[in-house]
């Protein structure tokens, strides 16, 4: 059910921006989704269809831009993918790490008419 509240916010941001631009219809929404946000495309599409009925976003498609989770080693600044290195810096083997990407969840742009 995580996605329901996410999609409610997404729809409200999209409709608000479309209204400001005097658009009659939303055609496509470009959504940026980080791997760590735990948001699944299928679930978003499901709720989006349901929550946009009778709105100008009905029938719009969502383009998902997935951002990989990336970590930075606090010791030597190496950037690495956690899935490949099991949370250990591949350079210095340190475990002092911080998340640099993968938390994204925003609408980048949308196409309207």
């Amino acid at each position: 059910m995580h996605e329901q509240s996410i999609v409610e916010s997404l729809v409200s941001i999209a409709l608000e921006n479309a209204q400001k631009a005097n658009a009659n219809k939303i055609l496509k929404i470009y959504l940026v989704v980080g791997e760590l946000s735990g948001v699944l495309d299928d679930a978003v599409n499901f709720y989006f269809g349901f929550l946009t009925r009778d709105t100008i976003a009905a029938g719009a498609c969502i383009s998902f831009d997935h951002v990989k989770a990336q970590f930075r080693c606090r010791n030597c600044n190496t950037i690495f993918l956690p899935e490949e290195h099991n949370f250990q810096c591949p350079n210095c083997k340190g475990q002092q790490i911080e998340i640099v990407s993968g938390r994204e969840l925003y609408i980048d742009r949308m196409e309207v008419e």
Binding site: S9, Q96, I97, D108, R109, M110
Partner: protein, 224 residues
């Protein structure tokens, strides 16, 4: 009609962040400390909260906001201790959000409170994503869940100010490596405080109580 591209760059959780900020301002106005307690289902949030209430209620005015998908079991337990308890039933949603907390705050007499403990829905994933306006995020991880969780749920461990390793009394029966767990948490979140406790036996709870007392003292002193 021609197709136009609108640049949006707007965070989906932005509205929730704004609501959380408003909650925080309201709490600060009343010098109330609010903590957001998170864990998997069954890790011992309610037991910890009951121990904490019993320790603090003589000198601290406490209220509890309980988040559950359904039922009032937890709020009923807390009410028996003579503490105001608001039950939020999320009707299926797996986390509390700032707007739900706002409604709960509207139902509490803020002038008569020092501490609000929010018991979030049992979930290690999206509870970490939704800010409530709490001053501190406190998470419990119980020994039977295993020491590998920081790497499975990195966001939760990155976001938490305090990590309580609960059910430490059953440690001999599980392959839970306390040192490996602590260094994985410290790796993700160097400033997190880690306390090994048992909400059942009371073991280790003094360190948690002292930490909470210091946060309350800072609030009373007017610092946020």
């Amino acid at each position: 009609m021609s197709v136009k591209v609108l640049t949006i760059k707007e965070d989906i959780l932005g509205a929730n962040e704004q609501n959380a900020k408003a909650n925080r301002e309201l709490l600060d106005k009343h010098r109330i400390l609010m903590i957001n307690v998170m864990s998997s289902p069954g890790a011992g949030k309610t037991s910890l909260i009951i121990q904490t209430i019993n320790r603090f209620k003589a000198k601290t005015r406490i209220a509890v906001i309980e988040g559950d998908i359904a039922s009032t079991i937890d709020a009923d337990k807390v009410s028996k201790l003579g503490i105001p308890a608001i039950q939020i039933n999320t009707a299926g949603a797996c986390h509390l959000d700032a707007n739900m907390i706002k409604k709960a705050l509207d139902n509490l007499v803020l002038e008569q409170l020092d501490l609000i403990v929010v018991e979030n829905v049992g979930n290690l994933i999206c509870t970490a994503e939704f800010a409530l306006g709490a001053h501190n995020k406190v998470m419990l991880l119980s020994v039977p869940e295993g020491d590998d969780k920081p790497h499975k749920y990195p966001l939760m461990f990155t976001e938490s100010d305090v990590v309580l390793v609960n059910k430490i009394d059953v440690l001999p029966y599980f392959d839970f490596n306390v040192n490996a767990f602590s260094s994985a948490v410290a790796g993700l979140n160097p400033s997190a405080r880690i306390f090994n406790v048992s909400a059942k036996t009371g073991e280790g709870l003094e360190a948690w109580f002292s930490w909470l007392e210091s946060q309350l003292a800072a609030k009373r002193g007017g610092q946020s």
